[in-house]
């Protein structure tokens, strides 16, 4: 799954640790998702979308 989390995070001037804290997951999880090496679970994807005030489809796209 492709995603634009890094761009959205940078747009808010958040560090990976900030986003990890907001999501309640480890920083390694944010790193892995941004590098598209880890597809988050559906609950985590919803949480990410809610954190960025958008829909899942606006963040994640199928390759």
């Amino acid at each position: 799954m492709k995603n634009n989390i890094a761009e959205r995070r940078a747009g808010r001037s958040w560090t990976q640790a900030d986003l990890a804290g907001a999501l309640g997951v480890s920083r390694q999880t944010v790193i892995s998702i941004e590098r598209e090496k880890f597809d988050p679970s559906l609950p985590l994807a919803f949480l990410i979308a809610r954190t960025f005030d958008c829909t899942i489809e606006e963040i994640f796209t199928a390759e």
Partner: protein
């Protein structure tokens, strides 16, 4: 720092209490029994001390830790280690059956436990290194 001291003190008190009880139940070999009791009780007693005095002050649990990538890494490492242990067990069994060797079961079982733990740990580190590279 004082959390660790308190944890060690609680662990030591519990360990001594258990070892004295075990020793008292075997008065003929008091010191041997007490020593074995202490060896058995030390780890869980120190763990309890750490849980009571250290964990609540030093470890911040992620609110959604179960969604973290580390869980996937652990599952992958565990699955790989399981297959490794299965293959190792089959190979050893075949070698023993063909060679008609007779060996003690306990060292083999302990070896399998050690192999599985070491294998899973090394696999986890390798998966983590590859993912964060």
């Amino acid at each position: 720092m004082h959390h660790y001291v308190l944890a060690i003190i609680l662990g030591a008190i519990l360990t001594i209490a258990v070892s004295v009880l075990v020793g008292a139940s075997n008065p003929d070999d008091f010191w041997l029994a007490a020593g074995i009791g202490a060896l058995c009780a030390a780890y869980p007693a120190l763990s309890l001390g750490a849980r009571v005095f250290v964990s609540n002050n030093t470890v911040i649990r992620d609110a959604h830790g179960e969604q973290s990538v580390e869980v996937q890494w652990m599952r992958q490492a565990g699955a790989g280690a399981f297959l490794d242990v299965l293959v190792a067990t089959i190979v050893v069994a075949v070698v023993l059956a063909i060679g008609r060797f007779q060996i003690e079961a306990l060292p083999v079982l302990l070896g399998l436990v050690g192999l599985s733990a070491l294998d899973a740990g090394l696999r986890y580190l390798a998966i983590r290194h590859r993912a964060l590279k």
